[in-house]
Structures are given as structure tokens and as C-alpha cells.
Amino acid sequence: MTAAPGYSDRVRELFMRPPHAGSLPPGPGRVIAVEAVAPERGAWLEVTARVEGDTVVEARFRAWGCPHFIAACELAVARLEGRPPGEAVQFEPAALARELGVPAEKFGRLLVVEDALRALAAAPPESK
């Protein structure tokens, strides 16, 4: 491989400047941290989400993987904000693959994103 393979401008932008990269420090609300790890598949994702009431008010991620995977993480995590954590299960890897033009051989990496979001949705609700 002697040159970066074909990536769309959108993937490049999300990979080079992902606004939701990072971790959330403790603060107001409840911070949920989840992880999905599959280095043998080329994917490792940590997601932290701050939940106030029943809404994700802020979400961040840390990821190891290829540019498509990192772009997918950014998009998926950005879409958590403003929604209940339980809606994370509505994540559709196939739709994201189409949206970002993720090659078929990398589809398994999007399942790692799905695993992380399902873990987030399954996090126990805040005790009252």
C-alpha cells in the first residue's frame, strides 16, 4: 500500500477532525462509560456519555482503528446527543456503512460500534 486508499471527503473530515473525540470528566449528571474491544478485527472503542434526566447531553469517544472506523465512531457518537441512552440500540451498522461508503470487508468493525452502543443502552438507569 503506497498511498492512502480512497476515502470520501466526509470520511476524511470526520477522521481528521472528529469533534467528539475524547473522554468526559466527572461533572453534572451521570457519566456512563462503555467499551467494545476487537483489535483482531481492527477496532477498539470507548464511549463516555453524560446523561441528565433521560437525555444524553454530551458524548465522547476514544478509538483505535482505520479511518472508516474512526469516522463511523464520530458519527454514531454525535447522534447520541439529545436522545435517551436507550435509543442507542437503534443504531444501524448497515445504514452507517452506506452513508460513509465503508468497504464490505470492514463491516465487522461497525459491529464493534454497535456493541458499544448496545452496552450504553443497557446501562442501568440512574437510581432515584
Partner: protein
């Protein structure tokens, strides 16, 4: 100072301006346009250009001009040597020896021979990436027909002791083929000292054009080779097809230029390579793949803990042009067979990058590339989960 730093010389060199000039002259209205096999005056003029180039190409590797067969490149040369020698000698033996770190042009030729009923012993290199001559001696059997071990590795730059391996083959009467695509023109090559019967190399990795290479075929004793293509009997019947005069002429000039300043260039490029390595070590969490001592001057293969190769590639896009140690084809996502043979994990293979320097590389290039790599690695590490930084190495 604008534009990306080209550190992919191991893949291909820019064509030297004097080579381009020679080729343009050949293609111009006054050039030797006739078929070099034609017996008329213009044909003889073209043949003279070919033979002059053949002398220059032969001189680069310490060979006699008559032992040079022009091909389309190192891949064809490797194929002609390996398939040609095995098929021509199948009645004498069906055992072959090669290593796990060869270029795909060699690996795939041997795999083809396995399909054809040959048995291949695949030698595993040591952790430094070198194949020990003793391994070759131990692998040779009475029915062994051919040994093929590369000179300098295209991914790590590690150089094998091909002279010792060649001696082991010669005393046992086994043919010895060397893929010297990376080393020819960068370090002294002496096919006689190597005791080699067949040596493959190419123009575009030493400042010549793509599409032209050569196979050294020992003249005395001459190994039997079955040609891969048939036709006009060119190149002593080993490689049929009209020779491309301009390509051959360009190859000849590239060899002359490489030979003229080889010791100085070897020292200069090796110095740049070591400075690049020194800069990259300051990034932290780095390792070097292959031997630092027994190496070609221009190749540096570096691993970065916690880094995924494809992402490093894109992060460097537009700043540094290099090659990944992880895959020849991003779609395959297959870790490098060379790095795996050195004992690296798949993750460590994916975290590796080949940076290769050459004739036009400068100190400023080294500094710019090191700064760009350091910045990209830092950014990707800041993006990765902390645990991944520990595990990916």
C-alpha cells in the same frame, strides 16, 4: 519545500533527468527507431544502443554483458529464473528452497511450482530478518534443484549473506537465484562473489524507467532455463519480444549513474536514514523492524505502539509518501508476510511503516518527515483508548 516528502524509494524512484533525456532522444525523430533485430543500418544502430546499455547494466553487478537478459522488470526476471529453472530441471529434482521473507514475485512463483508438483522448503528468518547460510545448507537435499534467497528485503532493508549462501549452493551443485531488486545500484553487487547463477533486478528502483529489468544468467556454466514466452528468439531465446530501445537505453544510463557515485550515495543515504530513525525515536513507543547493521542504506521500517497503519497513512496524507508495513492492499487487510515471519504480532505489523530514502532525499526531507510522523502519531495516540496503547505493539 512545498508538497509531500517522498519516502517511498523502495517502491520506485523518480526517473533521473539524464535518463529521461536519453530516453527522449531515443524516441525523437533522430533516435534509433528501428527494430534492433533488423539487419539494416538503422536496426544495427538500435542494436548498438541496446548493447551499450547491456554493458552498463552488466558492469553494475560485476557481470559479463552476455549474461544479461532484458525483461520487463524484476517480477518477470524472478519468474523467468524460478519457473524457468524449475521447469527445465524437473527431471533432475523436484525440491526447491526459499524463504518466508521473499517478495511476492518470488513467493507466488514458488506457490505456482507447488501446484505443479514441486516441494518447497520455506525457511524462516531469525528475529533480525536474516536467513542464516546454515539454514540453507541444512535444507539442501540430493534432489534439491534451486535455492532462492533475496539480497536486501524490500520491507525491512535487511541484507542476507548471499555470498555464503551461494557458496553453500555451489559446492552442492544447486542453482542459486537472488532477487536483488532493492540492492542493485545502492550497494556494491558482485554476482561472481555471490556465486549466484541467476540474479533479478530492475531499472525503476535505481532511477531508471518502469517496464524494464534484467535477469543475470550465469554464462559458464549456464543454467538451463525454460522461457516463459515464445516468439522471435530475442535475448538468446530466453525472452521473446522486440526490445524497447528507449527503455533499455534509460536502464543503461541509470546503471551508469548509480555506479558512478555509489559509495558516496550509500554513505549519504545511510546517514540520512539513521538521522530519521534518531528523530523518530523521540516520538516514544517506537521499534525498528529488521537488522540495523546488515541493511540496505535507504530503508527504515518502524513500528509505533498504539497506532493503526491505515490511519497513520491517512494522517500523513499530503505530508509524507511512504508505505505501510501492514498490507500491500488495504482491502485485504492482511498483515505483512515479511513482518510476520520476523515474529511480529498482527497488531505490531499493522503498527509499522516503511520509510525509504534515495538519491533525491535531503536533510530537510528527513526533518519534515519526522515532524509530520511525530505529529500524526501523537494525534492518533491521543484519540486511542489508553489500554489500546499498551496492547497494540
Amino acid at each position: 519545500m512545498s508538497g509531500p516528502v517522498y519516502l517511498d524509494y523502495a517502491a520506485s524512484w523518480p526517473v533521473h533527468p539524464r535518463v529521461a533525456e536519453t530516453m527522449a532522444d531515443c524516441l525523437g525523430p533522430e533516435g534509433p527507431h528501428a527494430n534492433p533485430s533488423s539487419s539494416h543500418a538503422e536496426g544495427r544502430r538500435a542494436a548498438q544502443v541496446i548493447e551499450q546499455a547491456r554493458e552498463s547494466v552488466a558492469a553494475l553487478i560485476g557481470a559479463a554483458p552476455k549474461s544479461i537478459v532484458f525483461t520487463s522488470g524484476a517480477t518477470e526476471s524472478d519468474n523467468l529464473a524460478i519457473l524457468g529453472a524449475a521447469r527445465a530441471g524437473r527431471d533432475r529434482g523436484r525440491h526447491l528452497v526459499t524463504s518466508r521473507i521473499e517478495h511476492r514475485a518470488v513467493v507466488d512463483a514458488f506457490r505456482q511450482l507447488e501446484h505443479e508438483g514441486f516441494e518447497v522448503t520455506w525457511l524462516r528468518p531469525g528475529p533480525d530478518g536474516r536467513v542464516a547460510p546454515q539454514q540453507v545448507e541444512d535444507a539442501i537435499r540430493p534432489e534439491t534443484l534451486l535455492v532462492s534467497v533475496m539480497h536486501g528485503n524490500n520491507e525491512t532493508g535487511t541484507v542476507n549473506d548471499v555470498a555464503a549462501i551461494g557458496t553453500a549452493c555451489r559446492v552442492r551443485g544447486v542453482l542459486f537465484h537472488v532477487d536483488a531488486a532493492q540492492g542493485a545500484g545502492k550497494v556494491p553487487v558482485d554476482v561472481e562473489a555471490w556465486n549466484a547463477d541467476l540474479v533479478a533486478f530492475t531499472a525503476h528502483k535505481l532511477g531508471g524507467p518502469k517496464g524494464i529489468g534484467a535477469l543475470y544468467v550465469r554464462a559458464q556454466p549456464r543454467p538451463a532455463l525454460q522461457p516463459l514466452q515464445f516468439g522471435g528468439g530475442q535475448e538468446r531465446g530466453l525472452r521473446a519480444g522486440t526490445l524497447a530501445t528507449h527503455q533499455v537505453a534509460g536502464f543503461g544510463v541509470a546503471c551508469e549513474l548509480a555506479r558512478a557515485d555509489l559509495p558516496e550515495e550509500e554513505r549519504r543515504v545511510r546517514g540520512l536514514r539513521e538521522r530519521l530513525w534518531a528523530h523518530l525515536q523521540t516520538v516514544g513507543g517506537t521499534w525498528r523492524n529488521g537488522s540495523a547493521e546488515a541493511s540496505l542504506p535507504g530503508i527504515l521500517n518502524v513500528g509505533f505502539a498504539g497506532i493503526e497503519g491505515e490511519s497513520l497513512f491517512l494522517a500523513l496524507d499530503g505530508k509524507v509518501l511512504a508505505s505501510s508495513g501492514s498490507a500491500c492492499n488495504s482491502a485485504s487487510a492482511q498483515p505483512s508476510h515479511v513482518l510476520r515471519a520476523l515474529g511480529l504480532s498482527d497488531l505490531a505489523c499493522q503498527a509499522s511503516l516503511r520509510l525509504s530514502l534515495g538519491r533525491w532525499s535531503t536533510e530537510a526531507d528527513v526533518q519534515r518527515a519526522a515532524d509530520a510522523v511525530a505529529e500524526a502519531v501523537a494525534r492518533l495516540r491521543s484519540l486511542a483508548p489508553a489500554a489500546a496503547l499498551e496492547r497494540i505493539r
